[in-house]
Every structure is written in structure tokens, then in C-alpha cells.
């Protein structure tokens, strides 16, 4: 360990092993319908496995991109050599049009303002490098995607200051919470450079309302800071209210020529909407030329494989395909989410009302022995070991209220989901019968408990795939 950088050695501290139990246990004992029917079902991985058949059938009908061909001619050489960080023009065009389509064509995007990156992981880190110095901070509403601690902070030295959201108003962002976070940052002598939101939210599965978006825009305008909207789940919105992108709100407020226009940036990826996390396709979209210029240069550290750009440019340029895919995918997600929500309801478990994402934000507060994070951990271990479901505890998402869990529904078959629900139902029945939980009446707001240290200093897991 000697002679290494601080970044390389800081991982050895502050890493609570209990969080990784879930993953390790899953790896050791993975559910398989035939080989291991009693194994652990993976519900901690936000993957979209519902619509591969649509992609596969497109591939079968379109053999050219597969064989590196265009109009019968081989373009292998061209692709093999193509490393221009401006990206394949046909791909960027197709991607911005796809993004516009997802937003009902209420906004349009200019391919020259888009920068391709190796996944949203790289996009978020790159934006930090462009917008903040080491030691400066971004405000993030909690609960948030655990990977942000690595993506936004690790190599950049940027700090995250939480904007506390609670169930009292369904975790919506309030002006009070924003101001409180800004103040907290100042108290810690941290210069705030911007706000980063995920819309639709991970882990909540909800879309930001127009009023929240307006609030955010007003806030960043007053403070003169940036707003990053990570819209990686924008294509997974399956019911009302629909998806409203921050760009739409800016447009509605006639902000196109104003200063704040240049300080709003979008992050996107095809990992969730198209279910292609392996392909490492991410993007930064910014109205600010300087950000685009700087981010483009930085993208050299993580360009998208030209082989992949080419395949996807063909796929996404097929408008008939994209139109059908978007609507079919949303339908399937809606059905699947409904399955989980109803199943949990039958087990006496409620979820935050959600309209997007690949997961539900599940309320198991009534199953906690006490209103503490220790009790949450205790419950979680039971769910992993006894119920044999790997789900994500709210504390790992920096939630201020114990008892919430993120449960994914789109990364398994219907049959497996059914089984998972059944196991959970059996567990709840047994659990309640044994008097393990508090009474269902305890609905009073819990006091903010100190988060366990390891949550605050959450670092990288040894073998964690890039799940969200």
C-alpha cells in the first residue's frame, strides 16, 4: 500500500462490510429456477431486462450493422480507425432525436452540444471535473444513487452536501430543504457550485414535478450556480404525471437566451432505457459551449467504442423501431411495477407512489423493531439471509428516514418476481406474528438519526457492477 496515491489507499478505511453482505451472499447463493430454487433473488440491480426481444428481432432484420457493412460495402476499416472525440455524427444525431422523442418532441437537442462518454458514470465525473475544484460542493437531494459517492467525489475531490427530503411530502424537494443544504455547506466552508438531481429519481422512481423544477431553476438563478439533471431513466416513465425535462421548463420560462441557460446540463445514457449497460453509452448535454468543449476533450479518457456507436446509430435511426420500443417498453414496465406494488400490498407493505424507473421505493418502517438505522440493518440482514432477497437498504442511498428499501422489478422474469413477492409475504406474516415489528400506528415523524459513519463515507465495493 505504500507509495500509492491517497485516492488508492483511502478505500481501505470507512468501508462497512455489512453492506456488501447482500452482494456477497447473492454471489455465493444465486437463485436459479432449476439449479438453485432456494437461492437469493437479486432485487438490488436496476437493470431493464424486459425488452430484449424487441432489440433482438431488430437485429435479425438488420444484418448490415452487424457485419460492419453500409450499403453492401465494408466500413470496418473506417470504424476501426474512428477515434474522433466528437463522436460518429450519425450516432449523435440519432441519439439526440431519440432523447427528443422520449420527451414527446416538446424539446429538441443539438448534436453539437452533446458529448459522448463511457456511460453515465463517466459523464457525471467529467461534469464534476469541468464545473468544480477539489473541495467545492454539489447539493444532492436524498435519497440518492449510492454510486454518486464514487462518481462525483472520488477522483475529483468534490464534496456532496445532502438536500434532505422526507416522506412527509413524498420526498419532494422543498425550498426550505434547498436553503438549509446551501447553508449547511457554507457552515462547513464548502463553496457550492451546483445542484445535481436525478429525474426520474433513483431510488424513488418518481418524476420531478414542474413546481420542483421551477423551484430548482429559481434557486440556481439566485445563487448563480449550475444544475445537472441526470435523466438516465427518462425513457422509463410509464404513467402519469409524464416526464418533464428541465429543458422544457427552461423553454417555458423563456430562458433560452438568459445566463441560467448555460448553467443547466443534462446527463443521459442507454443503460436503463434500452437495457444496454454493457455497451457503455453515456452523454453530457450542455448549452454552454465552453463546457461542451472541455468535456469533449475529457471524453478522450472514456470514448464510446466505434463498433457500438455504429450499431446503435443504425438502431436509433430506425424511427419505426424507436417509436414502438419506447411505448412497448413503458407498457411492460408499468405492468411489472404494478405486479410488485399489488403483491407488496397483499403483504401489507406499501410503496411510494411511483411512475418511473426500474424499482419501487418500499416502506417497511412498520416492520422495524425501532425507528433506527440499526433496526433497518437488522431487518435488511433478515431479508437477505432468511427471505433470500437482495434488496437495497435506504441508508445506502443516504435516506434520512430508516425503514425504506429500494426493490427492483425489471431484472427478472415474472415468475421469479412472483416467487419473490410470495417469500416476502410469508416473511411479513411470520414477522408480525412474532411481534418483531413496532405497531402499525407509529406514523409520527422520526427524528433525524445520525447516519452510521460508513454510510457517509461509503466507498467502493470490491466487486460491485455498475448498478443503479
Amino acid at each position: 500500500m505504500r507509495h500509492l496515491s491517497t485516492k488508492a489507499t483511502c478505500n481501505s478505511h470507512g468501508q462497512d462490510s455489512s453492506y456488501f453482505l447482500g452482494w456477497e451472499e447473492y454471489e455465493k447463493n444465486s437463485y436459479d429456477k432449476v439449479q438453485n430454487p432456494k437461492g437469493i433473488i437479486q432485487m438490488g440491480l436496476a437493470e431493464n431486462q424486459l425488452s430484449f426481444d424487441l432489440l433482438e428481432s431488430w437485429l435479425e432484420k438488420n444484418p448490415e450493422p452487424a457485419g460492419f457493412k453500409r450499403d453492401g460495402k465494408s466500413i470496418f476499416r473506417e470504424l476501426a480507425l474512428f477515434q474522433d472525440y466528437h463522436g460518429l455524427p450519425a450516432f449523435k444525431k440519432a441519439l439526440v432525436e431519440f432523447m427528443a422523442e422520449i420527451r414527446g418532441n416538446r424539446v429538441s437537442f443539438d448534436p453539437n452540444h452533446m458529448v459522448l462518454t463511457a456511460g453515465a458514470t463517466s459523464a457525471n465525473e467529467t461534469l464534476m471535473f469541468c464545473l468544480a475544484e477539489p473541495g467545492e460542493a454539489f447539493l444532492l437531494p436524498t435519497p440518492y444513487y449510492p454510486g454518486f459517492d464514487r462518481d462525483l467525489k472520488w477522483r475529483t475531490g468534490v464534496e456532496i452536501v445532502p438536500i434532505h427530503c422526507t416522506s412527509s411530502n413524498d420526498f419532494q424537494i422543498t425550498e426550505t430543504a434547498l436553503e438549509a443544504a446551501y447553508y449547511e455547506a457554507q457552515q462547513c466552508n464548502l463553496r457550492v457550485k451546483g445542484v445535481l438531481v436525478t429525474n426520474p429519481s433513483n431510488p424513488l422512481g418518481t418524476t420531478l414535478s414542474r413546481s420542483e423544477l421551477n423551484l430548482l431553476i429559481s434557486f440556481i438563478t439566485t445563487k448563480g450556480i449550475h444544475l445537472i439533471s441526470d435523466e438516465i431513466y427518462s425513457g422509463t416513465v410509464f404513467s402519469s404525471p409524464g416526464f418533464v425535462s428541465v429543458m422544457e421548463v427552461l423553454k417555458d420560462r423563456n430562458c433560452d437566451k438568459s445566463e441560467v441557460w448555460d448553467r443547466v446540463h443534462i446527463v443521459y445514457s442507454l443503460s436503463k432505457d434500452l437495457g444496454l449497460p454493457g455497451f457503455r453509452v453515456g452523454a453530457i448535454y450542455s448549452n454552454d459551449d465552453m463546457v461542451v468543449a472541455a468535456a469533449t476533450k475529457m471524453s478522450s479518457f472514456g470514448l464510446v467504442s466505434s463498433q457500438t456507436q455504429y450499431l446503435l446509430s443504425a438502431l436509433l435511426s430506425d424511427k419505426k423501431f424507436t417509436k414502438n420500443y419506447i411505448s412497448e417498453n413503458q407498457k411492460r414496465l408499468k405492468n411489472r411495477q404494478n405486479m410488485l406494488v399489488m403483491g407488496l400490498k397483499r403483504a401489507g407493505i406499501s410503496c411510494l407512489k411511483s411512475n418511473a424507473g426500474l424499482f419501487c421505493w418500499v416502506n417497511m418502517r412498520h416492520l422495524l423493531r425501532s425507528d433506527t438505522f440499526e433496526a433497518e440493518m437488522e431487518l435488511w440482514k433478515k431479508i437477505v439471509y432468511d427471505v433470500r432477497l437482495n434488496i437495497s437498504p435506504g441508508s445506502s442511498c443516504h435516506c434520512t428516514e430508516p425503514g425504506w428499501f429500494r426493490v427492483c422489478f425489471a431484472n427478472m422474469t415474472e415468475e421469479t418476481l412472483d416467487l419473490a413477492i410470495k417469500r416476502l409475504k410469508d416473511f411479513v406474516v411470520e414477522h408480525t406474528a412474532n411481534g418483531h415489528s413496532k405497531s402499525n400506528n407509529s406514523s409520527k415523524k422520526s427524528k433525524r438519526k445520525l447516519l452510521p459513519k460508513w454510510v457517509l463515507r461509503l466507498r467502493d465495493r470490491d466487486h460491485e457492477p455498475d448498478e443503479r
Binding site: N11, R77, C130, S271, L276, R280, M290, A294, M298, G302
Partner: protein, 496 residues
């Protein structure tokens, strides 16, 4: 005003120049982009010789792809794998991919060493690999020594976002640009005196831009140097399989098998961009003998994983031993042939290059065409080469070469015909210089004769007449005073 405001709103990294793209080096690229050569559509265009690409073996790869449809997830034969591959984002990478890359790396070193697939860490090209290694080994403000001339983008890759500084260790033609322990020691001492914390040494072997391989003795002395100082050695071996004649390539991985060394200090960077000619596919590799660096690097690889589609293709291709053996052999032979064609063509017009046996370029010696042995003269000559000779070559200064007059010229990114066109242009250019020189010689001879005549006529009027003769418009303006003739060359300098 808006710019200043932007600069406040953006980070220092985003607004500084360490990305290196504002250097005059890119003028050549701009000239090429504005007027690219094409054998049919634009025969007067600029020929790109500044891009180190290997375009010689695509036919071999294409043939393999056609014959192996399963390796593509989009063919009828391969599509059943589509879902599993599209989902796979584990930063360990496919086991088959790592095994195949380890296999390829071992074969590129003649099977003299083997590589452990579990030490193979992915990155966004060698660009990403070098940055990742720096993030793992050094803190902002720390320094790495780098023998120069070196790859221009090392500064961006190693230092832009990491805050690491690079300290050049100058090598020159006095000893064929060899790295000496003395030079390293001197650079190290100077850094110590300046209170700079040197964390290691980074170099490319085979060398870019020299095209040479490090000999065993030099490698051993480098390893003992870093061992003694307890600093890291990062060996960028991106051209390992682009060695086409003797002496053969010796990798640091071989050296550490034969001498005492703290392996925690040894790291290799690799990529398939040069050896296989696949820069578009972004296949970078960090291979470290230090477990902590492997672990940390692997986590960092999340920022630049290789597309699973690409991993799948290459896993299949590189585990085909027959293909790999044939590819390595063919690639080597074709590079040798092209290198020979080019260097012989240059020799015919009296241009020499550093003797080289690797890489996709030659290190061309144009010192004698410089007006003065200065950077300015090199830049002037370079602009002539771009604008008049219409070749984009790379001036030595962009590689931080301390000796003016050297140019890197790439030869593997074009077909044979274009090579001939380039050689012809060079021939014409050199001959023009010689004609100019002959004219100058004739002119000088006339001056001498005239002066002698004057001396005979009148000694007193000598000076003024001489003055007259020098201002006479009879002579080409490029004629310089005999006093200014370079002591090195009998030829008067070219008009640059």
C-alpha cells in the same frame, strides 16, 4: 466579460491549457483537415503523416470477422448471446476477454513471459490507462520523470486531471537518444532540490517517436534505478507487437523475471490501438504487478470500461491462436517492408533517419535543412513542409525534443502508392533546396572572383566595392554572407 464569468463558473481544469490542444502542433492537422490528400479527388492535398495508425493488416481482421459470425452479437449465429452481453457491465470484464488479451500480450513477447488474466484491468484506451495509473500512484503535485522526446499527449494523459507533473529527461542524438542512468540521476536530483516529490518514471517502449526498443542493459539499469529510489516504473508498451526487425523487443515483464526487483513498483500500460490498428474500439489495459493498484485501477475502470460488444468480439478473435500467430507474423513483415520502402526512399535523397526497428513512424533527421539550430528554424521548416511540400509531419519540438531538426514521419497509415507520392514530394523538395544551393554556390563563386579582381584593381576601394557587390540585386536575396555559412554544411541553408 462572459468569458471571465464562464471561467469562474468552470473549473481550472476545464479552462487551463493542459489538454495541450492549443499548441502550434495542431496547425499541421488543421492544414490537413482543410485540404486532405486523395489519390483521385485531391492529388494536391496534404498527405497525413502525423498520425501513428496501423492500416496495414485490416484485411486479416476482416477475413477473420467474416469467417467467425458468432463473434458478433448481431449476426444470426451470435444474436442469442446479445442479451447476456448487453447487460454485462462488471468492471472485472469478461474472463474470456482478459484471457485472450493476456494470451495476445504473451505471444507479442515471443512467449517469453505469460500474463495473468486477473491482473488485466480495462480502461478507455491507453489514454485512460495512463491517467488511471497516475491516479493510483500519485497525488496532485507529485511528479513523474519521462525520457524525452516523448509522446506529446503524455502531459494530458498523465497530468491534466490528475495534477501530476511530468519532468522531462532529455535525450539527444549524441548517443542515439539513449536514456542514461546519469541523466535520470541528474533529473531526480534536480527535482529533489526543487522540493518536487518524484513518484516514478514513465516511458514508452518501443519508443514513440523514436521507433526504437530499449536494450536489455538499459532496461536493467532503469529497473535498478527505480528500485533503488523506491519509485514506480510505468512502461507503456503500446507498440509491443509493432517490432519488425532486430533487436527484438524486451519487455519490462521479462526483466523482472531475471533480476531482483520490488514488483509492487512495476506497471505496464497496453492497448490494441496500434498493434492491431483498432483505435476506434477503445481497448486499453492496465497491467500491474501491484495488487493494490490492480484493485484500485479496477474500480476506476468504471470510468472507462471497454464496451461488452467489443470485449466479446476481441475475446473470440484473440483466443484463436492460429489467427494471432499469423497476424503477429504478417504485421511484423508488412511493417518491415513499409519501413524499408520509406527509409530507402529517403536515403536516395540524402535524408537519414534514426536507425529504428519498431513503431509506425521514423524519426527523420532534417537538421541540415535548418537555417539555424533553433526551435524557430524548426518551426519555419515545418511550415514549409506543410504548406509547400504538403506533408503533415510532426516537428520534434512537439515531442519535447531538446534538439531542433528532428521530425516524426508516419508510414503505416496509407497505401503503397501514397508512400510513393510522399517520397516523390520529398525528393522534389530536397532537390529544389539543392538547386538553390547550387545557385548560391555559383553566386558565391562570382562574388569571390569579382572581389579578387577588385583587390587587384584597388586595395583602398575594396571595402566599399565589396559593400556594393553585396547590395547588388544581381544575386538571389537568399544569398547570405560567407560569414554566416553554417560550419556544419558545405551547402548554404535552405530558404526557410
Amino acid at each position: 466579460m462572459a468569458l471571465n464569468k464562464n471561467q469562474q463558473l468552470l473549473s481550472k481544469i476545464a479552462t487551463n491549457d493542459r489538454h495541450g490542444e492549443n499548441s502550434p502542433y495542431f496547425d499541421g492537422w488543421k492544414a490537413y483537415d482543410k485540404n486532405p490528400y486523395h489519390p483521385i479527388d485531391n492529388r494536391e492535398g496534404v498527405i497525413q503523416m502525423g498520425l501513428a495508425e496501423n492500416q496495414l493488416c485490416f484485411d486479416l481482421i476482416q477475413k477473420w470477422i467474416r469467417g467467425n459470425p458468432k463473434a458478433s452479437i448481431c449476426t444470426a449465429e451470435g444474436v442469442h448471446e446479445f442479451k447476456n452481453i448487453a447487460i454485462f457491465q462488471d468492471y472485472h470484464g469478461f474472463k474470456e476477454f482478459r484471457q485472450a488479451v493476456a494470451n495476445f500480450m504473451g505471444k507479442a513477447r515471443g512467449g517469453r513471459v505469460t500474463f495473468d488474466p486477473d491482473r488485466i484491468v480495462m480502461s478507455g484506451g491507453a489514454t485512460g490507462a495512463n491517467e488511471t495509473v497516475m491516479f493510483c500512484l500519485a497525488n496532485p503535485g507529485d511528479a513523474f520523470l519521462v525520457p524525452s522526446p516523448c509522446y506529446p499527449a503524455f502531459d494530458r494523459d498523465c497530468g491534466w486531471r490528475t495534477g501530476v507533473q511530468l519532468i522531462p529527461v532529455n535525450c539527444d542524438s549524441s548517443n542515439n537518444f539513449l536514456i542514461t542512468k546519469a541523466a535520470l540521476e541528474a533529473a531526480y536530483e534536480r527535482a529533489q532540490q526543487d522540493n518536487i516529490n518524484v513518484k516514478g518514471l514513465i516511458l514508452a517502449n518501443p519508443s514513440n517517436p523514436l521507433g526504437t526498443v530499449l536494450d536489455r542493459d538499459t532496461l536493467r539499469s532503469l529497473v535498478s534505478f527505480i528500485n533503488e529510489k523506491k519509485i514506480h516504473l510505468v512502461s507503456d508498451e503500446i507498440y509491443a507487437a509493432s517490432v519488425f526487425s532486430t533487436p527484438s523487443f524486451v519487455s519490462v515483464s521479462e526483466i523482472i523475471e531475471e533480476m531482483e526487483c520490488d514488483r509492487d513498483l512495476i506497471h505496464i500500460v497496453y492497448s490494441l490501438s496500434k498493434d492491431m490498428g483498432l483505435p476506434g474500439f477503445r481497448i486499453g489495459i492496465v497491467y500491474s504487478y501491484n495488487d493494490a493498484v490492480v484493485n484500485c485501477g479496477r474500480k476506476m475502470s468504471s470510468f472507462g470500461l471497454v464496451s461488452s460488444q467489443t470485449q466479446h468480439l476481441l475475446a473470440s478473435m484473440l483466443s484463436d491462436d492460429e489467427f494471432v500467430d499469423n497476424f503477429l507474423k504478417e504485421n511484423s513483415e508488412r511493417l518491415a517492408k513499409r519501413h524499408s520502402l520509406f527509409t530507402k526512399g529517403l536515403e536516395k535523397v540524402g535524408i537519414t533517419c534514426l536507425k529504428s526497428n519498431a513503431g509506425l513512424f521514423v524519426w527523420m533527421d532534417l537538421r541540415r535543412l535548418l537555417k539555424e539550430q533553433t526551435l524557430e528554424s524548426e518551426m519555419t521548416l515545418w511550415r514549409v513542409i506543410i504548406n509547400e511540400v504538403k506533408l503533415n509531419v510532426s516537428p520534434g519540438s512537439s515531442f519535447h525534443c531538446s534538439e531542433p531538426g528532428w521530425f516524426r514521419v508516419c508510414f503505416a497509415n496509407m497505401d503503397d502508392v501514397t508512400v510513393e507520392v510522399a517520397l516523390e514530394r520529398i525528393r522534389v523538395f530536397v532537390e529544389k533546396q539543392q538547386v538553390k544551393n547550387v545557385t548560391v554556390e555559383v553566386a558565391l563563386e562570382r562574388i569571390r572572383v569579382f572581389v579578387e579582381k577588385q583587390q587587384v584593381k584597388s586595395k583602398r576601394k575594396f571595402q566599399s566595392n565589396l559593400k556594393l557587390s553585396f547590395t547588388s540585386r544581381k544575386y538571389d536575396e537568399s544569398v547570405m554572407s560567407p560569414h554566416m555559412m553554417s560550419p556544419r554544411s558545405p551547402l548554404v541553408q535552405a530558404r526557410t
